[in-house]
């Protein structure tokens, strides 16, 4: 997946996890922290679940807990999708 595709997926996940923040979800960019965009740890938790279901992957809890920036989240998703073997 490309970075823009992953960012779009994150926007989708944010809007799903926090529908009241739909406008903020559209404004997500690669720069900035989760806190700056109003993504609380619990919302990030839900976003991760949404993305795992969409991409059929499972993040390790420890790695997920380390994420504090949008870029970090994108990189984690790339790590799991780039290494996924498609049979």
């Amino acid at each position: 997946m490309t970075e823009p595709e992953i960012l779009n997926l994150l926007k989708e996940a944010f809007a799903f996890a926090a529908p009241e923040e739909a406008e903020a979800a559209e404004n997500l960019t690669l720069e900035g922290t989760l806190d700056q965009f109003g993504v609380s740890s619990i919302v990030a938790f839900e976003m991760a679940g949404y993305i795992e279901d969409k991409l059929d992957i499972q993040f390790a809890d420890d790695e997920l807990a380390q994420i504090s920036t949008i870029k970090g989240f994108v990189n984690l998703i790339r790590q799991y999708t780039d290494t996924k073997v498609v049979v």
Binding site: S40, E46, G49, D61, L64, A65
Partner: protein, 282 residues
């Protein structure tokens, strides 16, 4: 919901075990067991004062915590007697922080009295409706508090602050024991009604806020001081995820439950004598 006989027996045994360990291994005296003679004004910092004062403020709501807790737990001996013991232990924490602030010279008696007056001007009310939800809340809140106090303990050790090291050592040990009891309660609840307990746990996690929100004066400003709160990522990694594992569930199952039961039950708003916007810690 009234508890059945099996649940009552489990709670009784859990409390007796908790009480026995507390009496044999955890009791400490705020005046005799803290090395107050080792207080060194040269080690005083405003950051230490703000941390201790904030923690003290939270502990000072013990009358509200226990009154509300008793109302919920009264029908179950083991749970109600835990509430009584919990109240005693938490009251000691507040007393110890109070002594530290004044004995260290970080706060005068007048400054402390003014702070205490502001605390008692507000009332803490239950953030959730039921005994089961409040047990979930208790587990999370004790976990966060334990983690915060452990960081303070490590800091005191590194700085050679013997007084704070002893204070945070005793207090964090108590909080860990409290967390352990609440985890047992959740485990019992999961055995009785897994679906309902998961729904309650998801609801509480989703709406969780530390008790100081809206009650402690200048709370947002205090959170800017390192060590007063806990970073979200740390709470997830060291608090929430281990808790989920301990009670027999997982992050994936919790997220599924969150999606199924999102915000169906309104959170009880905390009463206060002045309107303060509520914010999430960290």
């Amino acid at each position: 919901m009234p508890a059945n006989l099996t649940h009552r027996e489990k709670m009784y045994r859990a409390y007796m075990e908790f009480f026995d360990v507390a009496e044999r291994k955890r009791r400490w005296h705020p005046f005799n067991d803290i090395p107050w003679d080792k207080l060194d004004p040269s080690q005083n910092t405003e950051e230490k004062a703000i941390c201790a004062e904030t923690f003290c403020g939270v502990e000072l709501y013990v009358p509200d915590y226990t009154a509300n807790g008793f109302n919920l737990t009264r029908p179950i001996f083991g749970h109600a007697w835990f509430q009584a013991n919990w109240g005693y232990e938490e009251s000691k924490h507040g007393l110890t922080f109070r002594e530290y602030l004044v004995r260290s010279g970080l706060r005068t008696e007048e400054q402390y009295a003014e702070f205490e007056q502001k605390i008692f001007a507000k009332v803490w009310n239950l953030p959730f409706h039921t005994r089961r939800q409040m047990s979930c809340y208790g587990a999370l809140q004790e976990s966060a508090t334990f983690l915060i106090y452990r960081v303070q303990l490590e800091k005191a050790r590194q700085e050679g602050d013997e007084v704070l090291e002893k204070i945070y050592s005793y207090i964090s040990r108590d909080e860990a024991a409290h967390m352990g009891f609440y985890i047992k309660v959740i485990q019992f609840e999961m055995e009785e009604d897994r679906e309902g307990t998961l729904a309650d746990l998801a609801h509480v996690i989703y709406h969780f806020e530390m008790p100081g929100v809206g009650l402690i004066p200048e709370y947002e400003e205090r959170l800017a001081v390192e060590g007063v709160g806990i970073i979200s990522q740390q709470f997830l990694q060291k608090g929430i995820f281990p808790l989920l594992k301990a009670v027999g569930t997982s992050r994936r199952e919790m997220v599924r439950t969150l999606h199924q039961k999102k915000s169906k039950v309104p959170k009880v708003e905390a009463l206060s004598l002045e309107q303060v916007p509520l914010t999430v810690v960290g």
